[in-house]
Subunit: 217 residues, 2 copies
DNA sequence: CCCTCAAGCAAACCAAGGTATGACTTGCGG
DNA sequence: CCGCAAGTCATACCTTGGTTTGCTTGAGGG
């Protein structure tokens, strides 16, 4: 066995440990949540306002956001909408001392993973955080896969893209040639390039990669 | 032009119009919701308890369920869990006069499409119903497609299933023959039968059909 | 006992996929 | 203006896919 790797190894420039972001204007609550997460070994960073969070250089790591609904300036719900329009899809856990049902329903419909009322039980928060992190991890896996495929597809020439589209539709080389008004050999040539560039060896794999391509992009 | 088809044509034994199911122990509320839906041309049936609903022969039509959370016997939330375990995935809109945040959050996390507090604005209920029906329609489309594919797949012999699995993995006939310990011609034979039985003409289409097969079943 | 069905094999054949090699045109940026 | 990338085509050759015909065998049901 190698010597104990401790909590962080030297060569890890990018950590994959979860990082939880907390926004609450109440200092005591911020500290309480940070401590709670610390007690189960989850790293977190706390901010007094959404503006502070947006200014901060937040590392790209799996995690979630814990938001007080009542915040100075932009409210929690509005911030949720804002993040979505910015393309930031971090799972959000809301917490608040003063909430009504319509507010919580609105947040949940907008995609929040949980909505806790203060004071909450420690275990409820920990459960919510764990679930949110799991959700983010899964989302990141999907996104990474999609981006890898997109990167490959980006190297295709327009013609190759057309040929690929027809291939995944199940068309024969002959038919593709007819559709595009070119000869069959040329289709085979493009087709071969597509297979190499997309790094697949079978039509089956190509179909699956093309699938994630138009589901995401 | 044929004579006006009116609101229902004679040959329509199965209607595709939405049907909303309502469960509330308050007679007045039941009637109010039925009338409201009636006013926008949506058919509905009301029940005084979940037991009544379960006993009734409810036609299989797109729609949703409007549930009071507080119900005699089985509560609304428990009924939601119950329906899920029965494989009934009708979208649920909760309504209640006495609700707290945890209750609404729990319902939403369990998949409810909305949660309204009485008294609610007519428009809020209509919006919720419309959204729920749209969700159910989309769900039914997916399910129908999946069942069609499963029906086709059910006609496959065990061997054909194995061959199909390998084909969609992108394996060559030669490799499949090796894996299954049979000759290449036999693989081609099975493969041809698979294509006919699954009603596809290209590997691409087969891959897509096989996809919905192991995503659902 | 016979029939059916899943499963298998072989030979032969044709269609489709895939890979060179070599050559031509066009359009764009340095 | 030169070079390069994209796109095109032809010829030739080989591999893979797919069908047909004919025949065999074993398991299960009427």
């Amino acid at each position: 066995m190698p010597p104990k790797a401790a909590s962080s190894s030297v060569q890890d420039s990018v950590k994959d440990d979860p990082l939880v972001l907390i926004v609450d204007d109440d200092d005591g609550m911020r500290e309480a949540v940070v401590d709670l997460l610390q007690s189960v070994g989850i790293e977190s960073r706390a901010f007094g306002s959404t503006a502070e969070l947006l200014d901060a250089a937040v590392p790209d790591r799996p995690g979630c956001l814990i938001l007080d609904v009542r915040l100075p300036g932009l409210g929690g719900l509005e911030f949720q909408t804002r993040l979505e329009s910015l393309g930031i899809a971090l799972p959000i856990i809301f917490m608040t001392g003063f909430a009504d049902v319509p507010m919580s329903v609105r947040a949940m419909k907008a995609g929040a993973t949980d909505f806790l009322i203060k004071p909450f039980r420690d275990q409820d928060m920990l459960d919510a955080v764990e679930s949110a992190i799991a959700r983010d991890r899964s989302r990141r896996r999907d996104r990474t896969a999609a981006m890898t495929v997109e990167t490959l597809a980006a190297t295709l020439t327009p013609r190759e893209r057309e040929v690929m589209a027809e291939v995944v539709k199940g068309r024969l080389n002959k038919q593709i040639a007819g559709d595009l008004g070119i000869s069959e050999v040329t289709v085979k040539l493009h087709r071969g390039k597509v297979m190499r560039k997309m790094q697949v060896r079978s039509v089956a794999d190509l179909v699956r990669k093309a699938e994630v391509l138009d589901h995401e992009g």
